[in-house]
């Protein structure tokens, strides 16, 4: 009987942090890294998942690693370790902080409540990874309505400081998994307001080695509606296009993610 009581007590203790998290928030389904501390998982304090994880990369791809409001981290914020993160959207979002560089595979997930700022301390992540603030990518992901895993990613531009909240431009940072000879992009309206698709524009000097990143400056619509963005990269070795990177930018006036 004491053994059963002990096992039960252990289960309660182990289960306790899971109950403490915000309703509807759970860690991303990742394989926590073996032998690296901290391994990805729920951490104490406000609902947050953080740590190293394992990842396999197979197909060549372009991926979005950061979408922030304002063009650069302001001087003060770059030195500070404490961020006041805010995304202007009518839906709860999910914060994802990850390195802009190819490694290490370390990420932070946290819920972003509607209309509220999130104070996030970058020092545990910087201490664990040895990265600088300038190496961090920030995404505010909208929940997907569709159950299928590859539904279009919807992201709201995240302001890293109160000064950046009024900025009318967003900076998207993308990176490629293979060497590319050029990168082009286009932004257009979605749904009923779709007009003729915007023309593609080539990013100047966009030749990149594998895992290098490039920034794209996107003008946010003044009416607060969302945008669709396509990014195309041409592989350096065979001249063929990589699978397109497509994502939706959620505007402050958008009711729900597409």
């Amino acid at each position: 009987m004491p053994l059963i009581a002990f096992v039960f007590a252990v289960l309660v203790v182990v289960g306790a942090p899971a109950r403490a998290q915000a309703p509807g928030f759970e860690c991303a389904r990742l394989q926590p890294a073996v032998g690296r501390v901290p391994a990805y998982g729920l951490v104490d304090g406000p609902a947050r998942c953080e740590g190293f994880f394992a990842r396999n990369v197979s197909q060549p791809f372009i991926e979005l690693v950061s979408l922030t409001r304002g063009l650069a981290v302001a001087g003060d914020a770059a030195a500070a370790s404490l961020f006041e993160l805010h995304a202007d959207a009518r839906m709860p979002l999910r914060l994802l902080v990850q390195p802009l560089r190819s490694g290490p595979f370390y990420r932070v997930d946290a819920p972003l409540a509607v209309g509220q700022s999130l104070r996030w301390d970058s020092s545990p992540m910087l201490a664990a990874t040895g990265l600088r603030v300038a190496d961090l990518g920030f995404l505010a992901l909208a929940p997907s309505r569709q159950a299928t895993p590859s539904a279009l990613t919807a992201v709201a531009p995240l302001a890293l400081s109160p000064q950046a909240r009024e900025a009318r431009q967003a900076l998207a940072v993308v990176r490629v998994s293979v060497p590319v000879s050029s990168i082009a992009w286009r932004a257009y309206r979605a749904g009923a307001e779709a007009g003729p698709a915007a023309a593609w524009s080539d990013l100047p000097n966009s030749q990149r080695y594998a895992w290098q990143r490039i920034g794209i400056t996107i003008d946010l619509p003044p009416d607060g509606k969302g945008l669709r963005v396509d990014v195309q990269a041409v592989a350096a070795d065979d001249g063929r296009a990589l699978p397109l990177l497509r994502f939706a930018i959620v505007g402050p006036a958008d009711a729900a993610a597409d």
Partner: protein, 373 residues
């Protein structure tokens, strides 16, 4: 014999009561008491001799043997619930039952892609969307310099059939719920043929364009979408490969050409050759053309389909149902508990059987020995 035993027992009971009474009286002569004691001893001897000589019933001797035989028969007759397996085979067609929502990873299609059975076409190229709406298009043929089936999104419970044809791979999607979504990416000179339109829509996408073909209406989740058929050109020796599907069941059937109009199309096995390994028993079974194989309750660790001139499948995992059919003869390939124990707990099994046999023999010897003595 039982009558004699009974008489002796009654006499013994009376005699022991008489001895007790005589002892209680206190004044019985010693000679009389000795006489009573000797008679009791003789009666005990006679009863013991009778008991030893009594013939044993057969079941009394054989029940340990029967018990061992029963346990062994059950162990040999009852199959283990889940069997680990690895499968490597070639077939012309395979049907995958996908219990969970799945997405096919991107594949490059050389030349031409044909899709039938979609309800709406979406694209950033507005003119294509309008053309598809005007035509009420439900099928499209796309030819482009660079063509990729970016993804095929399948809801939970979808049946996906892959067929290897000459120069193409055919994917048939039957889903119980919407939506089934095929995403295509094109680049370079492109020709699109909607429905049976005579003229193709010619485009030149220097950077690229995407098409999203949706089958079914998400607003009506109870309405199954129409079946979607995708034919992917596969020139020459090229191979299309998918490694990220996790089927729950696999069926290898193909429809054969029927004798004539109205005749029921014959359904046969699509297996051409293969090898099935059961690590539980260390058995390797060769599969030959026409063998019927059915797998269900799969938990897949690795699953790979390479579609060339034939489909080449590699699977490792475990199955709840594993049946091989050769002609009319069908049998389960799941090993019995006995086979499983023989393979995995051989030393335990040997010691266990030795102990049980020794016990059974000791029992029989005791019984038979008493009889002989």
């Amino acid at each position: 014999m039982p009558l004699l035993t009974e008489t002796l027992r009654q006499q013994r009971a009376a005699l022991s009561a008489q001895l007790a009474n005589s002892l209680a009286a206190g004044d019985t002569p010693l000679a009389e008491l000795r006489d009573l004691r000797d008679r009791l001893a003789m009666l005990d001897g006679a009863l013991a001799a009778l008991a030893a000589n009594a013939p044993r019933r057969l079941w009394q001797l054989l029940w340990p043997v029967l018990a061992v035989a029963g346990v062994l028969s059950i162990a040999a007759g009852v199959a283990v619930p889940v069997v680990p397996l690895s499968l490597d085979l070639q077939s012309t067609a395979v049907t995958l039952v996908l219990a969970e929502a799945s997405t096919l990873s991107p594949v490059v299609v050389a030349g031409e892609l044909r899709i039938e059975g979609f309800s709406t076409l979406e694209s950033a190229d507005d003119s294509l969307v309008r053309a598809a709406k005007a035509e009420l298009a439900d099928r499209i043929v796309v030819r482009a310099d660079e063509l990729r089936l970016r993804s095929l999104q399948l809801p939970a419970g979808t049946r996906l059939t892959l067929r290897a044809l000459a120069g193409a791979v055919e994917l048939q999607v039957e889903s119980e719920r919407p939506p089934v979504v095929a995403e295509i990416e094109l680049r370079g000179r492109t020709a699109l043929l909607l429905n049976d339109a005579a003229g193709a829509l010619e485009r030149r996408f220097d950077h690229g364009e995407w098409l999203r073909l949706v089958s079914g209406d998400t607003a009506r989740p109870a309405q199954p979408p129409p079946p979607m058929l995708l034919a992917l050109a596969r020139p020459g020796e090229s191979v299309l490969r998918w490694t990220d599907l996790r089927p729950q069941a696999l069926q290898f059937t193909e429809r054969r050409a029927s004798a004539g109009a109205g005749a029921v199309a014959a359904v046969g096995s699509s297996i051409e050759a293969g090898r099935l390994t059961l690590p539980a028993t260390g058995e390797t079974l060769p599969l030959s053309a026409g063998d019927g194989l059915a797998l269900d309750g799969l938990v897949v660790e690795r699953f790979e389909v390479a579609a060339g001139a034939t489909l080449s499948l590699k699977l490792s995992g475990s199955a709840r149902r594993l049946e091989l059919r050769t002609g009319e003869f069908s049998r389960s390939l799941k090993p019995s508990w006995l086979e499983y124990a023989a393979r995995h707990h051989l030393v335990n099994l040997l010691w266990g059987s030795a102990a049980v046999l020794w016990g059974a023999l000791a029992w029989i010897r005791r019984q038979v020995g008493g009889w002989v003595r």
